[in-house]
């Protein structure tokens, strides 16, 4: 089993809270979390609905292995229609909230409708209550967390909340749990705020029972934890330097998007790298990195906990930022740094803190600031538009100013909060938005890592690295090395990564396990925990089903194959330096083969045969 087999349905319009059974036929097909949550979204919403209207639903979903002893089994996802892309949104978070929700006895919460005034939901095991939250509206995530803990007087309550940016309508607002873990991308926080839902707090003491074969399960869990411990990446590399170890790697291979993707290498990369986070600062003699940290049940512990120099201009006289908090991960460091040309580690850490404090996706935020700086450089945005702020590339002051303005939803921050697509359209240069389906790129330039071009173009939630992380193969040689500058063979590679990742995301596990584990390592744990027989083949099939379900939702929402595209800058402007010098992304060499491998039409539509193969809903 491992599923609790219970859903909590919360109608925010009429204030009703109800328990209902989980659809176990769907669980057998879509596993849980990402897959199962999307199945419910497809069943219960019109894909053409207004993402910020009452008809959109907001689903918090755990996986069957969430809250169990499997390493990294603490994940949950938030699923809804995205206000940033108009496509399906599915944002995955770690920390402790997901496991707590599962331990309270719930596989999933489905929020529907819209509250008439601000509310929050509080869960204690089987009891769930909607509570007025007028006092929390206008507060940051950090303030909200503190006030809820003060109200319930239980330090073990876990809180997921939205900040002021979401209330102000920033389209890439995140849901932050445990102060600095995020369901980060695609504006799931914006949807939450649109429902007048400020926070969800949960305390669960039931644990996760119903393991199918407890003895075999614990034996398998112990064996696979050993695999993670003995692997050099998951046992040593990630705990020591975190994901930030990639900054110098990706810069060296010439695939670090810089200055809104004008360049593929950043002169200041080393200053904002994982290695730099270990160095003592000249100013106060302390390193940026305080310690690493782990999410629930994780034996990797890649998380970064950092501090800012108290004398730094961003935090002078602001003691609320002087303590330890969630530090820079690679994607955030890239977006806040290389994309904007800012190479000051403390400024980046400050911007990251504020993104956590007020719930913004640092990837979309940083990339949008990069686009704004590009527009400023061209003269399309001026100081008249910004109210006096100089948005030159490389300006720490501009970055810190932007993050404060977006967090508070003030002035020009409203425009940065719309995301790069709307910003660049407004100022007359739509081609300068480095996005797919309206969502900003992460930290890999497809001119230098060709498979990531196809990954971004076909990602069901808009540009995203976590839907098929071919960087592992193309750069890092995991599971085997492929040439990053070649397009041949990448269609199959991307499809394989997409299907496997969809399965991982649906079980409740962290994708970082895949640096040491394949589905061969996960299937025995899943099989020992859950009803039915769970083989590698079944997991791959379920992953492919999830991918097609998401695609089908997007097509019904109005997207087409034409949305599987990249900005002209990546298709026509060649890389200027590094191994990829002279190259553009060869998307057109990969996309037709990809569609064919997917069993889709040449224009990217899911065929009747594919729909039947995976028993997709009508």
């Amino acid at each position: 089993m491992s599923w609790t087999k219970k859903i909590l349905r919360v109608n925010l319009t009429n204030g009703e809270v109800a328990e209902e059974p989980l659809n176990m036929d769907w669980a057998a097909q879509y596993i849980g979390q990402r897959g199962l949550g999307t199945r419910y979204l497809v069943e219960e919403t019109d894909p053409t609905c207004d993402a910020l209207g009452a008809d959109n639903k907001l689903i918090f979903a755990t996986g069957p292995l969430t809250g169990t002893a499997v390493s990294t089994g603490g994940r949950y996802s938030v699923i809804c229609k995205s206000p940033l892309t108009g496509a399906v949104a599915c944002s995955n978070s770690g920390g402790f909230f997901g496991a707590e929700l599962k331990s309270a006895g719930w596989d999933m919460i489905i929020f529907e409708g819209k509250a008439g005034s601000p509310v929050r939901l509080h869960i204690e095991n089987e009891k769930a209550e909607i509570i007025p939250a007028d006092d929390l509206w206008g507060k940051t995530v950090w303030e909200t967390d503190k006030l809820i803990h003060a109200a319930v007087q239980d330090p073990q309550v876990r809180v997921a909340a939205v900040g002021r940016s979401a209330e102000a309508g920033c389209l890439y607002s995140a849901i932050i749990n445990d102060l600095h873990r995020a369901a980060g991308r695609s504006g799931v926080g914006t949807v939450m705020a649109s429902k007048n839902l400020k926070a969800v707090s949960v305390r669960g003491t039931r644990g996760v029972g119903n393991i199918k074969d407890p003895v075999r399960f614990m034996k398998s869990v112990a064996e696979q934890k050993q695999v993670l411990a003995e692997n050099a990446v998951t046992g040593q590399g990630l705990p020591a330097l975190g994901t930030q170890v990639l900054m110098n790697v990706i810069n060296e291979v010439g695939a670090l998007p810089t200055h809104n993707m004008r360049d593929v290498q950043f002169e200041g990369a080393n200053n904002i790298s994982g290695e730099a986070m270990l160095e003592a600062r000249e100013s106060d003699g302390k390193p940026n990195l305080t310690t690493n940290a782990a999410c629930f049940g994780c034996t990797i512990a890649c998380g970064r906990i950092s501090t800012i120099d108290k004398g730094h201009f961003t935090v002078e006289n602001k003691p609320e930022y002087w303590g330890n908090s969630g530090g820079l991960e690679y994607e955030a460091a890239w977006a806040l740094g290389a994309a904007t040309g800012v190479d000051d580690l403390d400024t980046l850490t400050y911007a990251n803190f504020v993104c956590n404090e007020d719930g913004m996706d640092p990837i979309s935020f940083g990339a949008t600031v990069g686009a704004a700086m590009d527009l400023f450089d061209l003269g399309a945005i001026t100081t008249e538009d910004t109210g006096g702020m100089d948005l030159s590339f490389g300006s720490s002051e501009a970055l810190a100013w932007c993050v404060e303005k977006v967090a508070a939803g003030e002035g020009f921050g409203k425009e940065i909060g719309m995301g790069s697509k709307k910003l660049c359209e407004k100022y007359g240069h739509p081609g300068l938005s480095m996005s797919v389906k309206g969502q900003e790129f992460p930290a890999y330039d497809p001119r230098g890592i060709q498979g990531m071009g196809l990954t971004y173009a076909t990602s069901n939630r808009g540009a995203c690295h976590l839907r098929s992380y071919t960087v592992a193969s193309e750069i890092l040689g995991i599971p085997e090395k492929t040439d990053p500058l070649e397009t041949e063979g990448k269609a199959g590679l991307v499809k394989a990564f997409q299907d496997a990742t969809a399965a991982v995301d649906s079980m409740g596990l962290c994708v970082f396990t895949t640096f040491a584990w394949s589905l061969d390592n996960m299937a025995p744990q899943m099989d020992a925990a859950c009803d039915g027989e769970w083989t590698v083949e079944r997991l791959v099939e379920a992953g492919e089903r999830v991918w097609n379900l998401e695609r089908d939702y997007n097509m019904k929402a109005g997207l087409t194959g034409a949305d599987d595209n990249l900005p002209a800058r990546l298709l026509k402007e060649a890389a200027k330096t590094g191994p990829a010098e002279g190259k553009v992304c060869g998307l057109d060499e990969m996309l037709p083969e990809y569609y064919s491998l997917r069993g889709w039409t040449p224009d990217g539509q899911v065929t009747r045969e594919t729909r039947q193969k995976f028993s997709l809903p009508a």
Partner: protein, 82 residues
């Protein structure tokens, strides 16, 4: 000839004195290979996973091939991120 040597992540400890930001420029014999440099600085080959010369991946069987003047050799242990 002169080359640039870079060591990252847990291999930083093998960097010689004078290295700045993981980087040092050194004089080596003409036709020196990546493995000769790695051995010279006593970096255990078993700890070296990713080897780049001018940003291009060098597989294990090619790490005995000579480098050119002004090449940049960069090395890492097994690393990953996301």
């Amino acid at each position: 000839m002169q080359i640039t040597v870079k060591m990252f992540a847990t291999l930083m400890e093998y960097l010689p004195e004078g290295a700045v930001k993981n980087t040092i420029q050194v004089q080596v014999e003409d036709r020196t290979t990546p493995y000769q440099v790695i051995d010279q600085y006593r970096v255990p080959r078993s700890e070296v996973h990713l080897v780049l010369v001018n940003g291009v991946y060098v597989d294990e069987k090619s790490r005995d091939l000579p480098m050119k003047p002004n090449d940049t050799l960069a090395i890492w242990p097994p690393v990953a991120g996301g």
